[in-house]
């Protein structure tokens, strides 16, 4: 008859109509003649989480990212040394579990030419990489929502002007400009790097957002909101944004991976983060000198973490894309 598992999600309501408190005699007729079946549904958030959980790779990605974040936050607890406090005599130590005079796991990933342990590089470096990735992506999306949302909602000449500016930004060559700006402006400051990323990357996302706004502004619920006197700002942020949010969340997630890669790239090119701040990209850059002498671990561990992080974010993004799609009923 009714499959029990289905019954847990959808309870057929058989309750009788409740009496109406209002003065309306109109209503009663409806309640008695209304035989429509009522489904007790899960909230939208719950449905999304259910779908997400079924995506194994995405779950693995989410867990990995959580662990990486914790590693960054608790770096001082994991790594016995930090970037200002190290044993300069212990240089070029290959990975090992114990070391004379240091009974802890300090050299589990070996050490670099200056005696910094790679464990320090990896744990403290995670802070910069993750922070730059997350904050840049958030900044990009905020700009993109404001710019793309305004252009798409109002349309007409506002749209034309804003989108031409966007086109100009899109024609700029990303990497050369990034190197130039980082070299002259950021001078090793993480926050300025984030700002540069945000300013250079919003146009692509703004186009995405604009597309959704163009669609939703023609929907009748937008018109209905205007009919009751809701302001344009409120329609843009409270009515349309929640509907356009799924693709924006997915794009933001994937952008995080891109920014982590870009940050490592400018570090590698020597125009990003400066010592004594440490980052994965910087570690990779320094490793070049000694790589030929068999110092493989120096490049391996930061590179591996970079790879794991980017991969996890991409899996997470894929999972979110499927989970947030209302039409998918997996």
């Amino acid at each position: 008859m009714i499959d029990p598992q289905h019954n847990q999600q959808a309870v057929l309501s058989e309750e009788l109509p409740t009496p109406i408190a209002g003065p309306s005699a109109v209503a009663n007729r409806f309640l008695t003649s209304d035989n429509e079946v009522t489904l007790v549904q899960l909230g939208q958030g719950q449905l999304i989480f259910r779908r997400f959980r079924k995506h194994r790779l995405a779950m693995a990605g989410a867990v990995t990212l959580l662990l990486l974040t914790l590693m960054g936050i608790f770096a001082p607890l994991i790594s016995p040394e930090d970037s200002l406090n190290w044993n300069y005599l212990a240089s070029n130590v290959p990975p090992r579990l114990t070391y004379p005079g240091a009974s802890d796991w300090r050299y589990i990933m070996g050490s670099d030419a200056n005696g910094h342990s790679l464990l320090m590089w990896v744990t403290y470096g995670a802070r910069v990489s993750l922070a730059v990735g997350l904050i840049s992506a958030a900044l990009t999306m905020i700009i993109a929502i404001i710019v793309g949302g305004t252009a798409g909602y109002f349309g007409g000449w506002i749209d034309a002007v804003v989108m031409r500016i966007t086109d100009v930004f899109l024609t700029l060559p990303f990497l050369p400009l990034l190197i130039l700006l980082s070299f002259y402006i950021s001078k090793g400051s993480m926050w300025l790097i984030v700002l540069i990323f945000g300013v250079l990357s919003w146009p692509g996302a703004a186009r995405l957002v604009r597309g959704y706004y163009l669609t939703f502004r023609q929907q009748e619920f937008t018109e209905a909101a205007r009919a009751v006197g809701v302001s344009d700002t409120r329609i843009i942020f409270r009515h349309i944004l929640p509907n356009a949010m799924s693709p924006v969340i997915v794009a933001t997630t994937l952008a995080v991976a891109g920014f982590i890669g870009a940050e490592a790239a400018i570090d590698f090119l020597g125009v990003g983060i400066k010592p004594p701040t440490v980052s994965w990209g910087l570690s990779l850059a320094n490793s070049q000198t000694y790589f030929g002498e068999g110092n493989w671990w120096w490049a391996l561990f930061p590179g591996l973490f970079l790879l794991i992080t980017t991969l996890s974010i991409n899996f997470l993004g894929d999972g979110l894309r499927d989970a947030l799609d209302v039409r998918s009923r997996r």
Partner: protein
């Protein structure tokens, strides 16, 4: 008094001494046709072309016509969801097309609309309570609890359970959604409601429920309706007076009984002959029109209907027939009416 203000006299009145709530004069709403590489305007779609009519307080004016005749555009224009090109919409003595922004926002409380599509007109990401209560909020009722009480009251008024406030639109059927749309329109206690084909998307059994609900609510809240539909029997049932539209023009306007019993304009006659009668023994003379509706970008000169009319003569292409009173309270735009 109207002439004193420099306004043109009314083309269509309702009768002397009538309590007119909304007076629409020479309304023109055109859509630009863009073309070429530069997306310049190359013409206009004359969706509503010089239409005048008045609506009495408490009555229901029905508008009928084929798809694309401008019914929906009229409804949207007179509550200023679209910006008409020209004309006046006098609501309680003020031309709402001229109102400044803040005064318009206040006036919006009085002018509400019920949409055709029960699916597209409710925000899928908003709980029903917020959909209905938002108007109250933007008009100054900041107290959440107070708002929710009113929302629950209106839910019960339209025959839905109060517990539905926290549910999302996708959890409802088409008829229930349309009632949510009605509750949203009513929550602001409007004086005038545009029903933009509010039952066209519903199946027949639900249609009658919603129509009766609309009728009862009109009594209960003293509403005035402008009701559009392409279903002639629906309009006959709900309307006190009916206007017939063709190609952006109002071609006939009369009380519902008079119009259905005694249509004067040939287009109306053809339209009414298409109503099916559920009685196989009745032999009907169906008027089948030749050709298609002309393009509203380039409408025919004179009478818009002359290209398909069996009475058409030279005068029809030379002169646009004005909407004139051919019988008491019966206006028609035809040289031969």
């Amino acid at each position: 008094m109207q002439e004193e203000n420099g306004r043109k006299p009314l083309q269509v009145t309702t009768g002397p001494g009538d309590d007119v709530l909304m007076d629409v004069r020479h309304l023109k709403t055109y859509y630009p046709v863009l073309g070429g590489i530069m997306r310049r305007r190359v013409g206009w779609v004359k969706a509503v072309d010089d239409v005048s009519f008045a609506i009495r307080r408490g009555e229901t004016l029905g508008l009928v016509g084929e798809s694309g005749c401008g019914k929906t555009t009229i409804g949207r224009s007179i509550i200023r969801l679209l910006k008409p090109l020209a004309g006046e919409v006098i609501f309680e003595g003020k031309n709402i097309l001229d109102l400044p922004r803040d005064e318009m926002k206040r006036t919006r409380k009085d002018l509400q609309i019920i949409f055709q599509d029960p699916y597209g007109s409710l925000n899928p990401r908003m709980p029903v309570g917020d959909i209905i209560g938002e108007g109250l909020m933007v008009h100054g009722m900041k107290n959440r609890k107070e708002r929710e009480e009113i929302v629950q009251y209106f839910l019960s008024v339209v025959g839905l359970r109060k517990e539905y406030v926290r549910r999302y639109p996708h959890e409802f059927s088409g008829g229930q959604r349309q009632r949510i749309g009605i509750a949203r329109a009513l929550a602001l206690r409007p004086k005038f409601v545009v029903g933009d084909e509010p039952v066209s998307a519903l199946d027949v059994s639900i249609q009658s429920q919603v129509l009766n609900l609309l009728k009862d609510l009109q009594q209960e809240f003293g509403l005035t309706y402008l009701f559009t539909a392409h279903d002639l029997s629906v309009v006959e049932y709900i309307s006190d007076r009916v206007g017939v539209m063709y190609l952006g023009k109002m071609v006939e306007l009369a009380t519902a009984e008079e119009l259905y019993a005694n249509p004067r304009m040939p287009y109306t006659q053809a339209l009414l002959s298409a109503i099916p009668i559920p009685d196989p023994s009745v032999k009907k003379q169906r008027i089948v029109l030749q050709g298609d509706v002309p393009s509203p970008i380039n409408p025919p000169s004179g009478c818009p209907f002359r290209t398909r009319c069996w009475l058409a003569q030279e005068v029809c292409s030379a002169e646009t027939p004005p909407l004139r009173e051919v019988a008491p309270s019966h206006w028609a735009a035809c040289h031969f009416a």
